[in-house]
Symmetry: C3
Subunit: 115 residues, 3 copies
C-alpha cells in the first residue's frame, strides 16, 4: 500500500495530503478583507507553493472547486484564474456560492493534483 504523507500538518487539518500519486490540498483562503483579486492571487500563490512542496505543479491539477461568498465576484476571480492557470493543462472545475469561515473571506479554492 502507498504511504500517506502530510504537509504543514496541524492538530485540526493538514494543508496537503499525498497518497497514491495524488495530492489533496486544504481549502485555501487569502488575506481577510482584501479584494477578490488580491485574495485569489494569494490563494493561487499558496497553491503553487504547496504543489511544489508535494512534488506537483499547476500543470498537473486534476480537479478544482471554487467557492465564492458572492457570485458577483465570478468575473473578477476568473480574471486572476485565467492568467494563472496553465491553459494547455486545465483541470476539471466547479464553482459555487458559499459563505466562508468569516465574512472577510470571499473566495476559497480546493485543489486535487497528480504528483
Amino acid at each position: 500500500m502507498s504511504e500517506i504523507k502530510r504537509l504543514k500538518s496541524g492538530p485540526r487539518m493538514s494543508q496537503a495530503v499525498i497518497y497514491n500519486g495524488t495530492v489533496w490540498l486544504a481549502g485555501q483562503v487569502g488575506s481577510p478583507g482584501k479584494s477578490i483579486t488580491e485574495q485569489t492571487a494569494t490563494i493561487l500563490s499558496q497553491v503553487d507553493k504547496l504543489l511544489s512542496e508535494a512534488g506537483s505543479s499547476k500543470s498537473k491539477i486534476l480537479q478544482t472547486t471554487i467557492w465564492l461568498s458572492s457570485m458577483d465576484d465570478f468575473d473578477e476571480m476568473n480574471l486572476v484564474w485565467d492568467n494563472w492557470v496553465d491553459q494547455e493543462n486545465t483541470p476539471a472545475r466547479a464553482c459555487g456560492e458559499a459563505r466562508l469561515a468569516t465574512p472577510d473571506y470571499n473566495v476559497e479554492i480546493m485543489v486535487i493534483a497528480a504528483v
Copy 2:
C-alpha cells in the same frame, strides 16, 4: 507514473481529466432557464457522454456532488436522478444548496468515476 489525459479542454477548464484509473468531470450544468427536470436530464446525458469518451460509464461512478440553487428542487431533481442512476451500482453522494454561476442555472453535478 500514470499519464494525465484531458477531454474537451479549454483555456479555463477541461470537461474531464483522467489519471490513475479515475476520471474527474467538471461541474455540469444544463440549459439556462429550463426546468429542474430538463436541466438535470441534460446534465446526466452530458455525464453519460463524457464518461463514455473517458472509457467509463454511469455504473462506475464513485462519488457525486450535487448543488441545487434551491433545496425546494430536491425531490424534482431526485426523480430524474433515480430514473437514471444504475441502481445496482450507486455512488457515494452529497447534495447541498449553492447559488450557481448565473441564476438561470438551478442544478450542477460533479462526478468522479473509475475508468
Copy 3:
C-alpha cells in the same frame, strides 16, 4: 483494473465506495433537529463505522469537506471535530456554508480516505 466495492448500497446512493486503495463516503448527516454538537458527534461516529467496514480508519482520512447550514456553528462543530480527529494524522479540510436537504440538518460531512 481495481474492482469497485460498495457498502450500504441503496437504489439512490451508496454510503461508501472503495476503489484503487481509496474510499469515498456519502455525505453524512446526524439526527434531524438535534444540536450541532450532537449532529457532529453522530456523523463522526458513523464515519468511524463506515471507515472501519471499508478497512480504513480516521487516521487515514485524506480529505474532508464540511458543510454547515450556518457559519455561526463553526466553533461548536470544531470542538467536536478537534476532539475526534487523530491530531497526528489530520486530513486536508474545507468548510463552507450550504443549506442541506432539510432545515433540520445543520451539518454534513464528506470524507475521502485511504484503505
